[in-house]
């Protein structure tokens, strides 16, 4: 990268040399670059040297949001090569996988170019490093909606569940996909039951199972949801098997159902078991539940 001439720009110091209460100290090179950056924020200059300045500074701190504001203006106004930019973004992301700003930058560029072909492969690599990277999954949701990738993604998500059945981000993503697709819920129930059988103590799959059924009355009208009636599907007997094995997630589901069916005594008995033996850390919650159920009796 060429060294640019900055002699026409006056360095803009942060605090005029006076130490602040935080007693901030900087690397000389970084401070110099930031002094120019501050000057640029004031002058609104858009140029190649400014673009290169953002590159240098991003290598010091990829979460510097100021740089992205400037850099995106440069990309657009100077009509820069966005394929090259994506190479830079990919590299920077691998070094800063949990940085808000680099993921938003990626999102905006892909939104401009519509060139999303490599994105799923990229996400595969990122999720290979941390299969629950929140930024990655959030980005994936946007990507899928933006480019209507639901049909291929419903196949892709199985990889993540197979690899790590406890991966709640993957289950959450699966829910998102199916809300947007026509699907056979009976088939899905079979899939869920199979995953429960593989690991009955997996909280993620139980939350996922319960997420498809509306049992209680309280509603959130702003949620985009699909809900089914548990009475219409073969589920209660299946869950009961795990109640007998003291799986707390199964018991929690049955308690919800028992209350709905006004089998209050049975619900209370299960809550007592939970609070004393099976789920003692939540004993206050289960006792509170019991008090609430008693009010319904």
């Amino acid at each position: 990268m060429a060294e640019h001439d900055w002699s026409d720009v006056q360095r803009l110091k942060q605090y005029e040399g006076n130490p602040t209460i935080l007693n901030l100290k900087y690397d000389e090179k970084y401070e110099k670059l930031m002094d120019y950056c501050r000057a640029i924020i004031q002058s609104n200059e858009i140029s190649i040297r400014v673009y290169d300045l953002t590159t240098s500074l991003l290598n010091f701190n990829a979460s510097n949001y100021n740089l992205y504001i400037i850099r995106r203006k440069c990309l657009q106004q100077l009509n820069l090569d966005l394929d090259q930019e994506m190479k830079f973004v990919n590299d920077l992301t691998f070094k800063n996988e949990k940085c808000y700003q680099i993921w938003e930058h990626r999102r905006q560029i892909i939104d401009w170019t519509k060139k999303y072909d490599y994105e799923i492969q990229f996400l595969q690599e990122i999720l290979g490093s941390d299969n629950k990277n929140y930024h990655a999954w959030q980005y994936r949701i946007w990507l899928c909606q933006q480019f209507n990738l639901f049909d291929q993604e419903i196949k892709n998500v199985e990889y993540f569940i197979e690899e790590d059945v406890g991966n709640n981000s993957a289950w959450n993503y699966r829910y998102f996909l199916l809300v947007h697709l026509d699907f056979d819920f009976e088939q899905e129930l079979k899939y869920i039951k199979h995953q429960i059988e593989l690991k009955p103590t997996n909280e993620a799959v139980w939350n996922y199972l319960r997420g498809w059924f509306r049992v209680d009355e309280q509603q959130n009208k702003h949620q985009k949801f699909k809900q089914f009636k548990y009475q219409e599907y073969d589920i209660v007997d299946f869950v009961d098997k795990y109640v007998k094995e003291d799986v707390r997630f199964a018991i929690a589901f049955i308690i919800e159902i028992k209350v709905h069916e006004k089998q209050f005594e049975q619900a209370i008995q299960l809550c007592l078991r939970m609070g004393s033996d099976i789920d003692p850390i939540r004993h206050n919650y289960w006792n509170w539940k019991i008090e609430n159920i008693k009010k319904l009796q």
Binding site: L12, G128, W137, N202
Partner: protein
């Protein structure tokens, strides 16, 4: 070549559980307890420094916070665009125990960051996160002088500039949109009596972020997460619109964030414990209107106590280093679990918030 990595959830969880179990046993039985050889290879166990007892060493943490407030030095590099956080995190700790600070120097510093909203440092663009940290810091100081610094008209203009048509907010011009923005805008629009049209539709947007698990995610359909659940629910509570969401489902998700082995909270289903969720998840309990304590407060407090560095500061979990962020949120969570000191929506001392409320209501008239 991407290789499948099987069962990472279980492997990670196993490591953390194992370390915590042996640490707890050692606290319970002292010298009598001999942990197995293999535990020495456990990264969460090996560098853990045992305390003489599990009392909360607030004086050590105050010293630590005082040091952080006055001597960030070169470690600023990762937070150079979030300098106000370096004020807020330690200041909240110091203020919690009425430790005097140099108000003048703090106000002078934050004035530099102000430009309608506040930026991460002098001459930076305004950003909602440093705005939050800066305004809270000025509120904590609770003097006419610190409060009069806040440019209310400027703040209002800044909030308008980052509002999206559906009532959500981006964090800065051309920035990312997620629930943090909505929370920050709501709590200050309400406190400072700014134009309520700024937050029109915001409650409904927040509600649309509730997932099938009952918690809230960053955006619609994103995974339920303690940080965003706090932001969303605190904002709804501030607006008195909690009932837009399914509170029963939120509550059930929330109680399940408490880890049976560790006592602390995780942020998402099947993730590991982290002391900062003592606040993000813990404070939601304070915001629910259930007149009883639904969590195991003793277990939570015990976990937080185990996360103390003998020299001051608190950390995420054994094996991790103390930092200002974890110190601040662990302590907020600790005192909130006793309903002491802090306000659960603003996470500043209640006394400071009361002063601010009185001041800004006076201004309204």
């Amino acid at each position: 070549m991407i290789f499948k990595q099987y069962n990472r959830t279980d492997q990670e969880q196993e490591q953390v559980h194992s370390a915590l179990i042996h640490i707890q046993l050692q606290y319970n039985f002292g010298e009598q307890y001999q942990p197995p050889e293999e535990i020495q290879k456990n990264k969460y166990y090996q560098d853990y420094e045992f305390l003489d007892d599990l009392s909360m060493r607030i004086n050590k943490h105050i010293k630590y916070a005082n040091n952080k407030l006055h001597d960030v030095g070169k470690s600023i590099i990762g937070l150079d665009t979030g300098q106000p956080w370096c004020i807020y995190w330690p200041l909240n700790v110091l203020a919690s125990h009425n430790v005097q600070v140099d108000n003048q120097r703090i106000i002078q510093f934050l004035k530099y960051c102000q430009n309608e909203g506040f930026g991460g440092g002098h001459y930076q663009y305004s950003h909602l996160a440093p705005t939050y940290a800066s305004v809270l810091s000025l509120l904590i100081l609770a003097t006419e002088e610190s409060l009069s610094v806040i440019d209310l008209k400027g703040l209002e203009r800044f909030f308008w500039s980052v509002r999206l048509p559906n009532g959500s907010f981006i964090m800065h011009q051309n920035g990312e949109c997620d629930l943090r923005g909505a929370y920050i805008a709501v709590i200050f629009v309400k406190l400072f009596n700014l134009d309520e049209k700024i937050i029109e539709g915001t409650a409904e947007f927040i509600a649309s972020c509730q997932t099938y698990e009952g918690g809230l995610g960053s955006n619609p359909f994103s995974e339920a997460h303690g940080g965003y659940a706090f932001c969303g629910f605190a904002a709804l509570k501030c607006l008195e619109k909690q009932h837009l969401i399914n509170i029963d489902k939120l509550r059930e998700w929330l109680v399940n964030r408490q880890m049976e082995q560790e006592g602390g909270f995780n942020g998402r289903t099947n993730k590991v414990v982290d002391s900062c969720y003592s606040f993000w998840c813990g404070a939601i309990f304070n915001l629910l209107d259930d007149k009883v304590d639904l969590k195991d407060t003793a277990a939570l407090q015990k976990y937080i106590s185990m996360c103390q560095n003998p020299d001051g500061g608190l950390f995420d979990k054994p094996g991790k280093r103390a930092d200002a962020y974890h110190t601040s949120y662990s302590l907020s969570g600790y005192y909130l679990s006793k309903n002491e000191i802090f306000d659960p929506i603003y996470n500043i001392p209640k006394a400071s918030l009361e002063f601010a409320r009185a001041y800004f209501n006076d201004k309204k008239q």
